[in-house]
Amino acid sequence: MKKALIFDIQHFSIHDGPGIRTLIFFKGCSLSCKWCANPEGISPLPDIKQTALRCIGCGACLKNCQTGAISVEEGRITIDRNRCIRCGTCARHCPAQALSVWGKYYSVEELVELAQRDMPFYEASGGGVTLGGGEPLLQNEQAVELLHRCKEAGLNTAIETAGNYPWEYLQRAAPYCDTIHFDMKGWRPEVCRAWLGRDNEQMKDNLRRLDGEISGWEKKPQLIVRIPLLPNENFTVEDFELLGDFLCTLQSLSKVEILPFHNLGQGKYEQLGRSYELKGRVNLKAEDAEPYLHVLQAKRLPVTISAM
C-alpha cells in the first residue's frame, strides 16, 4: 500500500471528538473554501512553510535550491511558488527552522503506532484518534486501513469529512468510525460554488446515504453535522430553514454544531505565500450565530454553537 501524506499530527486535541485525542491531518482536499483554516492541507503535494520571523538571513536555502526558486528581495527570502518543485531541500538546510515542509509520508503501520502513543490520556478521558485534513477520505485506501487498524487496537476513532467524493469512499470508512463529523458548508448550489469551489449535491447525497446506511446498525457511529457559518454569506437564515428541514429527515443524527467563522488560519496563508481572501474579518462570537441557532432549535434539532 502507498504511504499516506500527512501534514500534521496534533496531540492533546479536545475539539474533535470525545476526550483527549490525537489528530492526524491528511493532505489534499477537493474543495477550496475561502475560510479554510488549514490551507496547507488543500494541495495533495507537500508545501514549503516559510516562517519569516525565524529567518536568520544565512542564505543556506538560496545556495541549496535546485530550481532557483528562492531569491532575496529587500533582505527577505522570497519563494517563487510557481518554480518551486516542493522537494524540501531548502528546509533541510535551514538552521533556524524558518523553512520547513508541510507534508510527510507515513506508512499506515507508523500512523497506528503514533496514534497509540497517548494511550494513558485516551484511557483517562475516553479519547482516541481523529482523522482530519484536508479531506482524509481522499487518500481512501490508507485512511480506511488506518481506521480499521486503530479499531482493532481498541482505539476510539473519529473522522472529519466534507463528503465530496464517491459514496464508496465513505461507505468503506464508516464501519470503523465511532464518530463521524460531517460538514455542511452551504445550501444553495451557486453559493457553494462561490465559497467552496463546488456545488454541494454530492455532499448532501453522501450524508443522506450515510444516514440510511448506518440507521440499521446495532453499533452505529455518532453522526455529528458541523456547519461553518458566515452569516448571510455561505448561509442565510432562509437557507437554514431548508437545511434544518433536510437535517430533520435524518434518522441517525446525534448532534448539530454551528461553527462561527474564525480567522485563526490566516497566518498559514502567509507561510504558504498565498493571499487570504477574508483578510480583516474579525472572529465571530457565539451570539452572532444565535438567529441561526434558533432556526434549528425551533425544529427540535440537538444543536449547539462551538465558538472559538
Binding site: 492533546f12 479536545i14 535551514c94 538552521p95 502513543r117 497517548d118 478521558s125
Partner: protein
C-alpha cells in the same frame, strides 16, 4: 502591640509587594477569581500582607549575643544545651503581635514579614549583603542603619565561624578546583559548577516532622518521655544522650512559656477590643494558645494553631528552609469530623480557620546571597500535600483534602505550596477540584504520582507503610512523613559542565583551565559507548567530590546547629537520645545535589550519537570546531542538529539516552553513603539555577549557544518538543525514577484559553489523570499567556499579585529578575487545537 503599625507599612510612598518594582499602594490591582470563597476577613489579611515590607529582624541575634557573649548563663554547657538556652530565651523576650482579624496567633519575628538572624551558622561575611538589603532591587528588606551597625558590631565581636567558612576551610586541591572559579587567585568566587547554598546556611530544612503526634498527645507528653529517657541516659552514662535530652526539655519548657505569652496577649487585646465579636474571637484564641501545643488538640482550630506554633518553633530554632506540613488532611480530619458532628463549627467556619492558617505561610522568608538567581523570589517552600494512599494502601481523600485546595484558591500566594498525591484510587471530584485550582494559574497544586514514588522509596530502603505515607518536601522531593532526618537537598550540580568535561577532556572553556579529570580526547572515540562511559566517569568524579563535601557539612551541622526542639517531633530521636542532626531519626538519608541542565545534556548526547556515530554525517572534530565558534559559520550543522530526535517528544531514540543518563546519575550517587550510613536521593530540580548554570557553559551539541540558559528540571529544551504536552509527559515517565528518589521537576505551561470553561476543565482534569496513568514523578503547570507576562514586565502594578511557577515553587512574577522573567516567557506554551 496588637496591630501592625501602618506607618511602618508605607514608606516614601512605596509599597513593597514581594518586590521593590511595584510602587504606589493605591494603584495596585488585586484580582479575585470566581472560584474563591474567601471571606472579607481573608481578603483583608491578603491586603495587609501584600502591603507589608519585608524586615530583617535582629532580635534573635541580640539574644544569642547577650546570652552567650555577655553573660555566664551558658558557661560550660555543651553547644546543644547552649543553643537550646538561646532558643528558650529568645522566645521569652522577642516581640510578639497578632494581626488584626487573624484567628491564628504567632509569627516568626517582630513584625509581619520579619526574618530572624542566625549568627550561629551565617557569620559576618554576609554583612556586606545585609548592608545592601534596604536598597537592592530584587528581594529587598527593611532594616535601619542603627540596627545594621548594631548587627555588625555583634557579628564582629562574636566572630563565629560560619558553615560556609568551615566547609571551605580545608578543601583539597581537587575540591577547590570544582567549587571555586579561580582557586589559585580567588578563594571566594564560586565556579557555578557546584553550588552548596542550602546546606551551608543552617540545618537545611527539607523535613516533614511529626505534627500528628504533637496534635494527638501534646508536647507535655513528649517532655515526660524525654525526662524519663534522660534518667536512663544518666544511668547509662551516655553523655551525648544526656546533653540532647536536657536541650530538648529546655526547648519545650521555653515553648510552653512562649505559647502562654500569646494567650496573655490575646486576653490583653480582648480587654481593649470594642467589637464584641472580635473580643470573643480573641478570648477563644487565648484559650487555644493556653492549650496547644502542650496538650492534645481537641478541635480543628486547635490543630491549626498547634501546627503553626510548631512552625514558628522550627523557624526560630534554626535557619530551616522548606519544612513541610505534610499530610495535613490525614492528621486533622478526625478533629474536623468531630467538630462538624458536635456542631462546634460549620464547614464554612473551618474553611475560614484554615484560610487564616494559610495566610501565615507567605511569611516564611530568607535572605539570599549572591545575585538571587539560584532561587529568586523567596523559594521557601512549605508544602501541604493532599490525598494519596494511606499507610495501609487505601485512598486517604477526605473533606479536608478539598478544603486545602479551596484554601489555596482563596489565598493565592506562593506559600503554602499545595500538592496533590494521585494514584489509581484518587476520586474523580478531587482531580477536578485540583484542575480547577491548577487553571487559576498560581502554580498550585503540583502533582505527584504514588505509583512512581512509592516503589522508588522502597527501593531506597524505606518500609512499604512508610513509603506510602510520603509527603512532598521542597520542590519535587518526597520523604516519608515523621521519621526522616530531613535535608536531602544541598545545592546544585551543573550537568552541562559534566558534558563539557567529556567534550574537552576535563578542560573548562569558560574558566580556561583544566577543571576535571581526563577522560580522553573525544576525537579518538570510535563508538558512542565511549562517550557515555566518559560521561559516567565525569559524573562519578563530580559526585565523589560533591558528596565528600556534603558529608563533611553534615558533621559541621551537628556541631553548629543541632535542633533539639525539632527533634522532639521527629521519630525516633527521643528513643535514641540523639538529635536529628546526629543520627537520631529513624531514616538518615544524606544530602546531595540536584543536577541542572538535563534536557541540554540529553539532546546533546542524542545529536552526537545520531550525527557522529550513526549517520556519520559529521565528525567529532567538525562538531567541536562548531562549538568553539559558537556555531557561527556552521549553519549547515545547526540544520542537521535541528532535525535530530529530541527528548520530550515520546521518541524512543532520544528517550533511551535520557533514561540512560538518569540511570548513570542514580547509580553513581548510590556508590556513596552519608555520615550516618544513609543513602542519597538524587534528582533533577533546578529551581531557577538553569539560568546561571548556563552562564558558564559554552555552546553545546544540541544547538544551544554559549552562555545561554540550560534546561530546567526534567523539562525538554524550550521549543524543541513538537508533540505537545502529552509527548513531554510520556518522555518524562520513561526516566529511571526508581533511582531518582530525590525527585524531578516537570514544568508545563498552558494558555488560559486552553483550560477555560467546562470543556477546558474537563480536558485539564483528563490530562492530569493521564499523567497519573503514564506514571510521572511530578508535574506542575503555569497557566498564563505570553502577552500577559510581557505586559506585566512593563506594567508591574497591574499584575501585583500575578503568581508564576518558577520551578518547584510559585512566586510573584514582578519580583523576579528580568533574566528569569524572560526564561519563563520562553517556556513552550501549549494550546488546544
Amino acid at each position: 502591640m496588637g496591630k501592625v503599625d501602618s506607618s511602618n507599612v508605607i514608606r516614601d510612598g512605596q509599597v513593597w509587594l514581594g518586590t521593590s518594582q511595584v510602587k504606589d499602594l493605591d494603584k495596585i490591582e488585586l484580582h479575585r477569581p470566581a472560584c474563591s470563597t474567601a471571606t472579607p476577613r481573608i481578603e483583608r489579611l491578603r491586603e495587609l500582607y501584600l502591603t507589608a515590607h519585608r524586615t530583617l529582624d535582629i532580635e534573635r541575634c541580640r539574644t544569642y549575643y547577650n546570652l552567650l557573649y555577655k553573660s555566664d548563663k551558658a558557661k560550660g554547657e555543651p553547644a546543644i544545651v547552649a543553643n537550646a538556652m538561646v532558643f528558650a530565651q529568645y522566645l521569652q523576650e522577642r516581640t510578639i503581635y497578632i494581626e488584626e482579624g487573624q484567628l491564628i496567633a504567632g509569627s516568626f519575628g517582630k513584625c509581619q514579614r520579619a526574618i530572624p538572624m542566625y549568627p550561629e551558622t551565617i557569620g559576618k561575611e554576609m554583612m556586606v549583603e545585609y548592608r545592601k538589603l534596604p536598597h537592592r532591587r530584587i528581594d529587598a528588606f527593611d532594616i535601619s542603619d542603627e540596627e545594621l551597625d548594631e548587627l555588625e558590631a555583634m557579628l564582629n565581636e562574636m566572630d563565629r565561624p560560619s558553615i560556609r567558612k568551615l566547609a571551605f576551610a580545608d578543601l583539597t586541591p581537587e575540591e577547590k578546583a570544582l567549587f571555586l572559579k579561580d582557586p589559585d587567585n580567588d578563594p571566594v568566587t564560586l565556579s557555578k559548577i557546584f553550588t552548596i547554598d542550602i546546606a551551608i546556611q543552617g540545618p537545611g530544612g527539607h523535613i516533614n516532622p511529626d505534627y500528628q503526634t504533637v496534635i494527638e498527645v501534646g508536647l507535655e507528653a513528649i517532655r515526660a518521655r524525654a525526662e524519663h529517657r534522660l534518667e536512663q541516659a544518666r544511668a547509662e552514662g551516655d553523655q551525648k544522650g544526656i546533653d540532647f535530652l536536657r536541650a530538648a526539655i529546655i526547648t519545650i519548657d521555653g515553648f510552653e512559656k512562649f505559647a502562654l505569652r500569646y494567650s496573655n496577649l490575646c486576653r490583653e487585646l480582648a480587654d481593649k477590643e470594642e467589637d464584641p465579636k472580635r473580643r470573643d474571637e480573641l478570648l477563644k484564641m487565648a484559650e487555644i494558645c493556653a492549650r496547644v501545643p502542650m496538650k492534645p488538640a481537641r478541635t480543628f482550630h486547635e490543630a491549626c494553631q498547634c501546627v503553626w506554633f510548631l512552625f514558628i518553633g522550627i523557624q526560630d530554632e534554626a535557619l530551616e528552609k522548606c519544612y513541610s506540613v505534610g499530610r495535613f488532611d490525614q492528621f486533622t480530619y478526625p478533629l474536623y469530623k468531630k467538630d462538624i458532628e458536635n456542631g462546634v463549627a460549620t464547614p464554612e467556619q473551618e474553611q475560614e480557620i484554615l484560610d487564616c492558617l494559610f495566610m501565615k505561610f507567605p511569611e516564611t522568608n530568607y535572605i539570599n546571597s549572591d545575585a538571587n538567581q539560584t532561587a529568586a523570589g523567596f523559594s521557601v517552600q512549605q508544602q501541604f500535600i493532599v490525598g494519596g494512599q494511606t499507610p495501609d494502601g487505601k485512598d486517604g481523600t477526605n473533606d479536608v483534602s478539598y478544603m486545602l485546595l479551596q484554601g489555596s484558591m482563596n489565598t493565592r500566594f506562593g506559600q503554602p505550596s499545595v500538592s496533590l498525591r494521585m494514584w489509581e484510587g484518587t476520586p474523580e471530584p478531587l482531580y477536578r477540584k485540583a484542575a480547577e485550582l491548577a487553571r487559576l494559574g498560581t502554580g498550585h497544586p503540583s502533582f505527584f504520582c504514588d505509583e512512581t514514588i512509592v516503589p522508588s522509596l522502597i527501593a531506597h530502603g524505606v518500609l512499604p507503610e512508610d513509603a506510602r505515607d510520603y509527603s512532598a518536601v521542597g520542590c519535587s522531593g518526597v520523604q516519608c512523613t515523621r521519621k526522616d532526618k530531613g535535608s536531602h537537598n544541598a545545592g546544585y550540580m551543573n550537568f552541562g559542565s559534566c558534558l563539557e568535561f567529556v567534550l574537552y577532556d576535563g578542560y573548562w572553556p569558560y574558566g580556561k583551565s583544566q577543571k576535571s579529570i581526563h577522560t580522553g580526547d573525544p576525537r579518538t572515540f570510535t563508538s558512542f559507548d565511549q562517550v557515555m562511559e566518559a560521561f559516567r566517569l565525569q559524573v562519578r568524579h563530580l559526585l565523589n567530590i560533591y558528596t565528600k563535601a556534603t558529608v563533611k557539612i553534615e558533621d559541621i551541622q551537628r556541631k553548629l546547629c543541632p535542633t533539639p526542639f525539632l527533634s522532639c517531633f521527629v521519630q525516633d530521636c527521643i528513643t535514641r537520645a540523639r538529635d536529628r542532626s546526629d543520627g537520631g531519626a529513624f531514616y538518615n538519608f544524606g544530602m546531595t545535589s540536584r543536577a541542572v541542565g538535563f534536557g541540554t545534556v540529553v539532546d546533546s548526547l542524542v545529536a552526537i550519537k545520531k550525527l557522529v556515530f550513526d549517520d556519520k554525517s559529521v565528525t567529532m572534530d567538525q562538531l567541536l570546531k562548531a562549538l568553539e565558534d559558537n556555531y557561527e559559520g556552521h549553519e549547515d550543522l545547526l540544520a542537521l542538529i535541528a532535525q535530530c530526535p529530541k527528548y520530550g517528544n515520546d521518541d524512543d531514540y532520544a528517550d533511551k539516552i535520557a533514561r540512560e543518563v538518569t540511570t548513570i546519575y542514580a547509580e553513581e550517587q548510590d556508590r556513596h553513603r552519608s555520615l550516618f550510613g544513609g543513602r542519597f536521593n538524587p534528582g533533577f530540580s533546578t529551581i531557577s539555577a538553569n539560568v546561571f548554570c548556563g552562564q558558564i557553559v559554552a555552546a553545546t551539541p544540541d544547538g544551544r549557544k554559549a552562555w545561554t540558559p540550560v534546561t530546567e528540571g526534567i523539562s525538554p529544551a524550550h521549543h524543541v518538543e513538537k508533540n505537545g504536552p502529552t509527548g513531554v509527559v510520556l518522555s518524562s515517565a520513561k526516566l529511571d525514577h526508581e533511582g531518582l528518589s530525590g525527585g524531578s521537576i516537570l514544568n508545563l505551561r498552558f494558555s488560559p484559553m486552553t483550560v477555560a470553561g467546562d470543556k477546558g476543565l474537563d480536558a485539564l482534569t483528563a490530562f492530569i489523570k493521564g499523567m497519573q496513568k503514564a506514571g510521572i514523578w511530578h508535574a506542575q503547570f503555569n497557566v498564563v499567556d505570553t502577552e500577559t507576562l510581557r505586559d506585566a514586565q512593563v506594567n508591574p502594578n497591574k499584575y501585583a499579585d500575578l503568581l508564576v511557577r518558577v520551578a518547584g515553587y510559585s512566586t510573584f512574577f514582578t519580583g523576579l529578575p528580568e533574566i528569569l522573567q524572560n526564561d519563563i516567557i520562553d517556556r513552550s506554551i501549549y494550546s488546544l487545537t
